[in-house]
Amino acid sequence: MTTTIKLEKKVLSENDKLAAEIRDELTKNKVAALNFVSSPGSGKTSLLEKTLQALRSEMKIGMVAGDVQTENDAKRLISAGGEKIKPIVTGGSCHLDAKMVSKVLPEIDSSDLDLFIIENVGNLVCPSSYDLGEDMKVVLISVTEGDDKPLKYPSMFRRSSVMVINKIDMLELCDFSLETVKKNALQINGDLKIFELSCRTGEGLEEWYDWLKELVKGKREA
């Protein structure tokens, strides 16, 4: 004999509670917050290096760089002029969770920031389940990957607000169609804002910087 006890509980309720606390703190301090996700090697760190170099004179940027092993990404971001960079080494875990972020956030001091960027672990599956208190997720894809990636990882593209297509300088060398990737991505999420750029040549970066400036301005005035 058994009895059934009803229970309406979100499995990630603990994570979501911590993420809400992070979001409250960042909103109170008028800090725009982005969670960067992609496959390994799409160019998250490269784009963040460029962003730091271009914008650090006009806004205060804090970043956490998540990696399964090594602090290499955080070191690169510090070399690019980042002053408020903290590594999170997950020691095997395939994603960041809100607990890891809330542990390092006090060291970054969000009261003195305009923009907070979380570089997630390179993985298009697992990080999609974890809210980290960001305003929005930015998903990167590079032209050396397949243009069907949005269809293969729908959860991530559905939960992201922005898609950055990186390495467009290599379009001629790859069987990757910009038209196809955009069609696939918009099928999953019609509201996606899309950027096409190359961190290597600098093409398309100005539009990205302009959008970030508007985002920060909007948050400040909110």
Partner: protein, 121 residues
């Protein structure tokens, strides 16, 4: 494979329920998993079965209900099921849609063994 982390969260929540409600043996845990939650049910069961052994849930089963994806069109207000991962309204083709289901990752019930009263003599 974050299903292991998810399995761990499930175990923690259920152990907490057992403690606060003073429950007996948990035979099964009911879960609702949305088709676009990013969770793969087989991997979750695999992860749960691996880590449950060291807990009082070592004999507990997961009963997983997969919830299909459905949305409501913000433009024409009609509800529809999302098929073949096409997230647009089949009636007016608008891509402005509100998700109604399919993203769940919820514990919905626990099945508890009732202790049999042993009669003396």
């Amino acid at each position: 494979m974050h299903e292991l982390s998810i399995a761990n969260s499930i175990i923690n929540i259920v152990l907490d329920e057992i403690k606060t409600k003073n429950l007996g043996e948990v035979k099964a845990i009911g879960l609702k998993i949305g088709a676009i939650s990013g969770i793969f049910p087989d991997a979750l069961e695999f992860g749960f079965d691996a880590i449950k052994l060291e807990t009082v849930l070592c004999k507990t089963k997961l009963e997983i209900e997969v919830i299909p994806i459905a949305g409501k069109c913000i433009n024409c207000s009609k509800s529809f099921e999302v098929r073949e991962l096409v997230f647009s309204c089949p009636h007016c083709q608008s891509t402005s849609i509100k998700m109604e289901q399919g993203e769940e990752l919820d514990i919905t019930y626990m099945e508890i063994a009732e202790e049999l009263e042993v009669e003396d003599g």
